[in-house]
């Protein structure tokens, strides 16, 4: 483990989130898809540079996990910034298909067939 390295890296991301360490919403799972609203709403606070980076990365739909990788930031930090963007009306969110106790047979078959073509 690169202990010293990790310690140095951890401090910074949280300065981006105003010291908050937890998202105010649990809207953002690893595979929640986010998309920048186009055109962006006028008025309101100007987005911070990190917010602008996120908006660029989610010009096309992207899931939170991939976004975090693209930003090289922890998922939890990205989720907090996404909360801000959602509240500012700058992104739309699409939740994953949750698999409940009655799974969606069509969805399962679709995944199965897709894997069969690999």
């Amino acid at each position: 483990m690169n202990g010293g390295d990790a310690a140095g890296r951890l401090v910074r991301p949280f300065t981006l989130t105003g010291g908050r360490t937890r998202p105010s919403r649990s809207d953002f799972t690893l595979i929640t898809t986010v998309t920048a609203v186009d055109p962006q709403p006028v008025g309101g606070a100007r987005p911070q540079p990190e917010h602008t980076r996120i908006l660029r990365l989610c010009a096309k739909p992207i899931v939170v996990a991939e976004l975090a990788t693209g930003l090289d930031l922890p998922v939890s930090v990205v989720a907090i910034m996404l909360c801000d963007l959602l509240e500012a009306g700058r992104i739309t969110v699409r939740q994953p298909r949750l698999i409940s106790r009655t799974p969606d047979l069509d969805l399962l078959k679709k995944v199965r067939d897709g894997l069969g073509r690999l």
Binding site: I31, P74, L107, V111, L115
Partner: protein, 193 residues
């Protein structure tokens, strides 16, 4: 093509589903994710203090400020409108609390077993059994060797008869794909019942 609308808004986001790749430390989870993914497995670092649990739960985890958990994940596009994500669960015991978050909304799991030390995957099996999350066992034959039959392994792991046990090689794409297909077949069989 009708789908060539140039604006992002005209492009519907694909559906996203996920499968977990679990098992003990060093059983080949990252290797498997990399073998079947259409992209180089992505990594994201999660600081332990915010990994989806109350700060109190971190008692007993040494170095909690400085520790990060690496999550690796891969992607398999299923047509234009559906994407399957594979998430490798962190193997080290002190990171197991993260599995709860990862498991939410998963289709199911592949539990990898290193045939030389199957006991390292007991905890993963317990985890999915208790939560009634469907899983299959992928026995990773390191160096391509499979000294045991699936039935012997099923017995050694005290698994119910219906749990599929596949002998596979985490380095081989086709082999990993077959393990995933076995999981889907199991899910389909159960839900069609």
């Amino acid at each position: 093509m009708a789908a060539s609308d140039p604006t992002p808004q005209g492009m519907p986001a694909p559906d996203a589903v996920k499968i977990l790749v679990a098992g003990g430390f060093g059983v080949g989870k990252t290797t498997m994710v990399g073998s079947v993914s259409e992209i180089v497995p992505l990594r994201t670092e999660e600081p332990l203090t915010t990994a989806g649990l109350g700060v109190d739960d971190l008692d007993g985890i040494p170095d909690k400020q400085a520790t990060t958990v690496a999550l690796d994940f891969g992607r398999i596009s299923i047509g234009d409108d559906l994407v399957l994500y594979l998430f490798g669960t962190p193997g080290q015991q002190r990171f197991w609390f993260m599995w709860n978050d990862l498991a939410i909304g998963a289709l199911g799991a592949v539990v990898l077993v290193d045939v030389r030390r199957p006991e390292s995957s007991f905890a993963a099996i317990d985890f999915f059994e208790r939560r009634k999350i469907p899983f299959v066992i992928g026995v990773n034959g390191f160096y391509g060797e499979h000294p045991y039959e699936p039935d012997e392994i099923r017995e050694a792991l005290a698994l119910p008869e219906h749990t599929p046990v596949l002998l596979f090689d985490a380095r081989e794409r086709a082999s990993c794909r077959d393990v995933l297909i076995a999981l889907l077949d199991q899910l389909i069989a159960t839900s069609a019942r």
